[in-house]
Amino acid sequence: RVSSDGKPPKFQPPPKPVIIDRKTQKEERRFLSPEFIPPRGRTDPLKYYIERKDMIQRRKVFNIPEFYVGHVLAVTTADPYASDKSKRFVGICIQRGGKGLGATFVLRNVIEDQGVEICYELYSPRIQAIEVLKLEKRLDENLMYLRDALPEYSTFDVNMKPVPRMEHEEIPVNKLQVRMKPKPWSKRWERPKYNIKGIKFELPEHKMKAAQKWSQPWLEFDMLREYDTSKIEEKIRKELSEELEK
């Protein structure tokens, strides 16, 4: 360096090391249930605020655990016609739909060679307990293709014991590629519209290429479809954490 006034240069201390604390970074990745995020529309935000108050009220009394599509859950509901007045169903969550109080999730299981799917409402007062038996995410957010997959991929033991899990561990992603029954399927899962990564397509090459004819590559660049939820999510997370601590 060029020294000023001919004097030796002033001592420059070395730059401070930047410590990236991995633990705090992990805590920032919090889970917000997807039914809290309001859809894009012209409804008054007051309506979503009031709905959220009701949802938080329900969550204070009844614990709704964090779960994603691909988890194996056991749900106990109240049933006036059962002998014990309650029913327990174990299944893999294939879809989470709905926003606000009407949020639903669909559990699928194969019982005695018969595929059974039950759609439960998260905030229904009939639900008495939701237990997460196995935590694992899958490659897709919608596992409806399990209907056309071999039944072994949808069978889960009804008396399964909950798999133990360490807290603050990342939820493992099961990169399982599912084998399908022969065509015809309920939906043409090979088409790019469904964007499924969890199927091992054993179709011939020309069929896979023909399916790409229905691809819409302009969709990812469509700016009118963008819905940035990061700021809304932050506000809702703050609201949730404040209310649940009370």
Binding site: R42, T43, I50, V61, L101, P125
Partner: protein, 242 residues
Amino acid sequence: MMPIWTKSGEKHAVTLLKVQDCHVLRYVSKEESGGKTAKLLVGGKNVSPFSKPESAHEIFKEAGVPRKQKVTTFNVTDDAIIKPGTPLYAAHFRPGQFVDVTAKTIGKGFQGVMKRWGFKGQPASHGQTKTHRRPGAISTNKAAKVYLGKKMPGKMGNIYRTSFGLKVWRINTKHDIIYVNGSVPGHTNCLVKVRDSKLPTYKDCNKNPPFPTFFADGDEELPEDLFDEEIFQFTDPSVTFA
């Protein structure tokens, strides 16, 4: 619209209606209006005063109230007359009451006869020449004319329609919101007129309503939420069948 659950676990769909700046504007006596009962003009939802001429502001200036988007009339008995200028709140209604809701339906524009009146149209194939959604015959030979009021294509929607006998499940006094059973005509955020039900089955349903209306500066202190007896409140534990 939102789901609501009863204590027995049944789900009902509910529409939220917000009472936004409602004020009584004018009292019209029976002789003046020429009807059977006295009338009260009520206005709702404040709107900018600059888009209408001064002559249109007379009613609002007399009542001392900013300009309202919509002014409706309510037929009222002599003991239920309210002074012009009083604000009306959602607490005027109570859970368990039955209510009629009037609003302008969603406008669908010029529509054909199949959508507008539910005609069956004609088959898609088997030799039909250019005739799949047409009305077909419009009258008989003997009549030799088309009757007045014949169902034909035209502008559909954007007319006032009423849903009768809707139950009020819940009232939020803090935000002035009425939870009304079922669906209501009109699009989201449209203006709606809510009235006590005129159906004969619900004539004796109102037990001790706030009469003539709920006054905010009175002595009554209402909780933030008023629920119907059958509603499942989220503060209770899950429903069990004994």
